[in-house]
Structure formats: structure tokens, C-alpha cells
């Protein structure tokens, strides 16, 4: 019996000391996934801003903007093209979401599940939605503990989901995103001393990313435009 036991371990030892496979070979053994399948689409206006022209599965995008300055519009726009392409989306912590606005942004509401007031359980709710949907938007209320953020990022990577974090200040999300979008400047047009009506918000959107976009890059967008969607604004 003892002998058998020893031999079992002997074989394990042999396995571990086996020469490592050639890197080139490993890359060929891995299941092949077309690059396009690892990328979820985004609306045309956002394509030049994102490192791969889309949302990379397993990645985290952080949208930083103080409340009322376009962050919600920008974050929700990231759901438009994926939901329209058949991907399910989850939205956590957005109380009283304006559904008409989301429809105008091009979000296919048939594939969006909302948990508007998850309370203290938001991280668990987000975790469950990472299992069930492809794009998960989380609006943060309070600073997130490092371990919680790390777990969500790891889970999203594991399930090939896209995490979109909407936060008022970059300090609330302790780990930098793969892509970080911010809105350094925004101004509404169309209203003036009683006349007109809100007809769009011209906004400068900046991006910094870890891969392929280390240089900060800024674009001027209608966030939203007069028809309620997000488009590229002509330079003035």
C-alpha cells in the first residue's frame, strides 16, 4: 500500500518536471477565437475613442463624471450597440432611469435588466449579472473596497463580460479601468432666457487606456444630440 502511495507521488513529480511546451505551440493549442468575437460593438461616435474600436470582452471601462455632467449618458451609450446586436445588459444602482432617453440613445431595452436600488448588495447583484449578461453597468454611490473591485474585475474577465463603472470621482473605483473615459467639458445648447428648448450637449470626452491608448485622446461629441443619440460634433 505504501509503495503504491509513493509511486503515485513519483508520477506527479515526473509530470511537473516535464519540459515546458514551446510558447509557439501553446498559442496554437489554445482554442482559436476570432478577434471580432472578443470585441463588443460601440456606436460609431465612440469607436475612435476606444483602443480597439469597441468593448473588449473581459475588460473594465470606467466613466468618470460628476453627477449631471454627461456621465450617465456616456455610460449608457456604451450599452447601445451591444444591446442592439443581441447582447444582454445589466444596469445596477441607477435609480429612476430615464427609459425614453435610453431608447433615444439606441439602447435596445428588450435586453436590459435593471436593479435600480440594490442597496448594500450591489456587488453581489453585479456578480450575478456578470453570470447572466454580457455588459454590466454599475453606478457607484460610495467608494468601493479594493477587494470587491478586484473580485468583480476578475469575474468579468473570467466570464468574458464587459464591466462599465460609472463614478462621480475616480477615487471611488480603486483600480484603474482598462479604459477610462472622462468629460472635462460639457455645455448645453438650445436654451436661452425662456426661449428654445434643450437641443443637445456639446461635450469633450477624454480617454486614457492601458493598452494601445496610453496617450490621452479627446473627441468632441454631441452627448446627446438634438435627436437624443450620441454623434460626433463638428469642430468649431
Amino acid at each position: 500500500m505504501w509503495l503504491l502511495y509513493e509511486r503515485m507521488f513519483a508520477s506527479v513529480d515526473r509530470l511537473e518536471t516535464r519540459p515546458a511546451l514551446d510558447e509557439h505551440l501553446i498559442s496554437r493549442i489554445r482554442p482559436m477565437v476570432a478577434p471580432s468575437a472578443r470585441l463588443l460593438p460601440v456606436v460609431e461616435a465612440l469607436q475612435p475613442l476606444l483602443p480597439d474600436g469597441g468593448l473588449r470582452r473581459g475588460s473594465t471601462t470606467v466613466v468618470v463624471a460628476p453627477p449631471g455632467h454627461g456621465g450617465a449618458t456616456l455610460a449608457l451609450t456604451l450599452l447601445s450597440a451591444p444591446s442592439a446586436a443581441g447582447h444582454w445588459c445589466g444596469v445596477v444602482g441607477m435609480g429612476d432611469p430615464g427609459i425614453t432617453a435610453m431608447a433615444e440613445l439606441g439602447v435596445d431595452l428588450r435586453r436590459v435588466v435593471f436593479v435600480p436600488t440594490p442597496g448594500g448588495k450591489w456587488a453581489e447583484v453585479a456578480g450575478e449579472l456578470i453570470d447572466g449578461t454580457d455588459v454590466i453597468l454599475i453606478r457607484l454611490g460610495l467608494p468601493v473596497p479594493h477587494a470587491v473591485a478586484r473580485n468583480l474585475i476578475a469575474k468579468a474577465r473570467d466570464r468574458s463580460a464587459v464591466l462599465v463603472i460609472l463614478t462621480a470621482t475616480s477615487g471611488q473605483w480603486p483600480i484603474g479601468g482598462d479604459v477610462e473615459l472622462s468629460i472635462p467639458h460639457a455645455a448645453w445648447v438650445g436654451v436661452n432666457a425662456g426661449h428654445g428648448h434643450l437641443a443637445g450637449r456639446r461635450a469633450a470626452v477624454s480617454v486614457i487606456g492601458r493598452r494601445g491608448a496610453n496617450q490621452e485622446h479627446t473627441a468632441t461629441l454631441w452627448l446627446p444630440s438634438a435627436s437624443g443619440d450620441v454623434t460626433v460634433a463638428a469642430a468649431r
Binding site: 431595452l109 435588466v113 449578461t133 428648448h197
Partner: protein, 357 residues
């Protein structure tokens, strides 16, 4: 509130019960659009909103009974109100209205078999625990240690602490209703929820159902566009898995709807706002629909003053004039810090209706 149709609980082989149940849902929906089928023969509506609309719970019960009288049923549907689905479906069997304070005493005399757990129903009486009250008097921790998580959940339900219990809801009921009704159904706004069989859809539906079991059905919602005149009426959020009848279509003409872009946040409970002129005098709206002065700054719920950079309006919106003369006036405001908000003047008071975030 739970509506319990005793003769529809057992399902026959020909789908007649499903079709009759669909007729019940359609009848209830005429009174309350929030009807949710729980399982065959049982549906719920939120008691608070509609009862306020119809003039109290008694009036709502009366209206519901009249509405259900038109559906051909062998046994009269039973109606009951209690906090949480578990208590409410029992209250319906007795036709009772149970308050939060009376919930545990209402639950106490029911036999443990109503929990729907055959194992507990056979084991508990052997140790002298026959009723929910006796079960609830056991320590939660002991129940968990001896019988496991599911029994602990049953214990919480038996004591009235938790209103949901796994097994009360039939996750597939909406799909089966849609299937049996076939093309007779009005076009569902969420066809993918009810008819589809894609794996992504099943994955999302499973996830949403688990969250509902955990947080309660109202915590997980999906959108149903309906094309009303206020931002809050143009679409509504309904609990995931709700009955997919679409009342008003988005294409219906609704003059008076605000031009796009629509606000990103639309408050279900508008907050009180004060609007002042440059001399700190409160601004209201005249009978003719004009502002009494030029807006200069505003404060939400007594918060800090925000300077108004520009504004548009006021636009008078008369709505539902055929029911009640309800006049509203709207104002779009851009504050000095660049935030755009939508205010509404109603009942001699400004309200923050929506935010363009």
C-alpha cells in the same frame, strides 16, 4: 395583493386553464397594468398604487370583483392582501387583508405543509411542530443547523420576516401563457423575454429570476415603453417576468411630449424645488401660464442655491383633461455649473421632475 383562482390551480392537458387564466389577467389589467402572473391560477398586483387611485383597498377589492365577474370561472376568485407573496397567497385563500403588524399571528395557525416542502411537512409534525407558528418559534440558527439553507428560508417565511420563498413562483408561466395564446396576444414589447429560446436569453432570465428570489420581484425590472406625455409616462419599469401586454404603443400620437433629448434620470418621486428671482422672491406661474418673474436661482429640497444660467419654457401641459383638470407647466433649466434639469409646476409648487445627466 394576490388574486387566487381555485379552479385554475390544477392544470389539465388541453391548456384550458392557461387560457382562462389569461382572461383573468386581461380583466385585472384593465384596472391595474402591473398584474404579474405568479403561477397558474395565482397573480399579484401591487396593492398600494391602484388602491390609492380607486379610493382605498375596499373600493379596489370591489372594482376587482366586478371586473373578475365577467370572466367565466367555476369558483369565485379569492382576493387577499398581506406583506410579501407568501403571506398574501395565504391571505387570498381566506379572503383576508393582513397588516404588517398582524402578519405573524395570521401565519401562525397554518399547517407547515403550506410551505410546499414535503420533507419538512413529514419531519416537523413528528417532532411536534405542526403549524407555522410552532415552526417560527424554533431558533433560526437551530433550524439552519439541523435542516439546512432551504429550511432556514422557510423558517424566515413562516415567521413573516421574508415575503418570498423559492418555489412560490413558476418562472415559466409568462412563456407558457404566451405559447398557449399564440397570435391572439397583442404584440409584446419584449418578445425576447417570452417567446424566445436563445441561450443568451435563458442565461439572462435565469440570472434575473435568481435576483428576484433573493431581492424580491420588484427589485429586478425591465422597461416597457408606453408613449405617455410626461417623461415618467413615456415608459415604465415593470418587474421582470410581468405579463407582456402593451397598452399604448410608442407610435401613438402624444402631442405635448417634450422634444428629444429626453432626460436620463426621471424621478418616480419628484422632489420639491424653489425657484427665485434676483431679489430672492419666490417665482410661481400665473393663471395664464406665465412666470411671475425672471428666474435667477433655485434650490432642490431646501439644498444649496444654484444659479440659473439659462432656461426654456414655461410650457403649459394640460393632460388627462377628460378625467381631471390637471394643469402642469414645465421649465427646462440649465444651472451655472452646466447641469440641465426639468422642473414642473403643479399644485402651486415647483418639482424636480427629471435630470439630464
Amino acid at each position: 395583493m394576490v388574486i387566487h383562482c381555485p379552479d385554475l390551480i390544477e392544470e389539465g392537458s388541453r391548456g384550458a386553464e392557461l387560457r382562462t387564466f389569461a382572461a383573468v389577467l386581461a380583466a385585472v389589467e384593465e384596472l391595474c397594468p402591473w398584474v404579474t402572473p405568479v403561477r397558474l391560477g395565482i397573480c399579484t398586483i401591487p396593492a398600494r398604487g391602484p388602491s390609492r387611485l380607486l379610493g382605498g383597498e375596499g373600493a379596489m377589492l370591489h372594482a376587482l370583483r366586478a371586473q373578475l365577474g365577467a370572466v367565466a370561472l367555476d369558483a369565485t376568485p379569492q382576493l387577499g392582501i398581506a406583506p410579501g407573496l407568501f403571506g398574501a397567497q395565504l391571505a387570498a385563500r381566506e379572503g383576508e387583508m393582513v397588516d404588517q403588524d398582524d402578519l405573524s399571528s395570521f401565519l401562525a395557525p397554518w399547517p407547515v405543509s403550506v410551505l410546499g416542502r414535503s420533507e419538512l411537512a413529514s419531519v416537523l409534525p413528528r417532532i411536534g411542530v405542526r403549524t407555522l407558528g410552532q415552526f417560527a418559534s424554533l431558533g433560526h440558527r437551530e433550524v439552519f443547523a439541523r435542516f439546512g439553507t432551504d429550511a432556514a428560508a422557510c423558517h424566515s417565511a413562516a415567521s413573516g420576516e421574508v415575503g418570498e420563498l423559492v418555489g412560490l413562483r413558476d418562472a415559466g408561466i409568462a412563456r407558457r401563457l404566451a405559447a398557449v395564446l399564440g397570435p391572439v396576444l397583442p404584440a409584446a414589447v419584449q418578445p425576447s423575454f417570452y417567446g424566445g429560446t436563445g441561450s443568451a436569453e435563458r442565461r439572462a432570465a435565469n440570472s434575473a429570476t435568481r435576483l428576484q428570489q433573493w431581492l424580491g420581484p420588484e427589485a429586478v425590472v425591465v422597461a416597457r415603453p408606453q408613449g405617455g406625455r410626461n417623461p415618467s409616462d413615456q415608459a415604465e419599469l415593470v418587474p421582470f417576468g410581468s405579463w407582456p401586454v402593451d397598452g399604448r404603443s410608442k407610435a401613438a400620437p402624444w402631442p405635448g411630449q417634450l422634444p428629444p433629448p429626453a432626460p436620463i434620470t426621471v424621478f418616480g418621486d419628484p422632489r420639491v424645488v424653489e425657484v427665485f428671482d434676483s431679489t430672492a422672491k419666490v417665482i410661481t406661474v400665473s393663471r395664464q401660464g406665465f412666470l411671475t418673474a425672471v428666474p435667477d436661482h433655485c434650490a432642490v429640497e431646501g439644498g444649496r442655491l444654484r444659479r440659473i444660467a439659462s432656461w426654456a419654457g414655461p410650457w403649459p401641459v394640460a393632460e388627462r383633461w377628460w378625467v381631471t383638470p390637471r394643469r402642469r407647466v414645465r421649465l427646462q433649466v440649465v444651472t451655472e455649473s452646466g447641469q440641465a434639469i426639468l422642473l414642473v409646476f403643479e399644485q402651486q409648487q415647483w418639482w424636480l421632475e427629471a435630470v439630464y445627466d
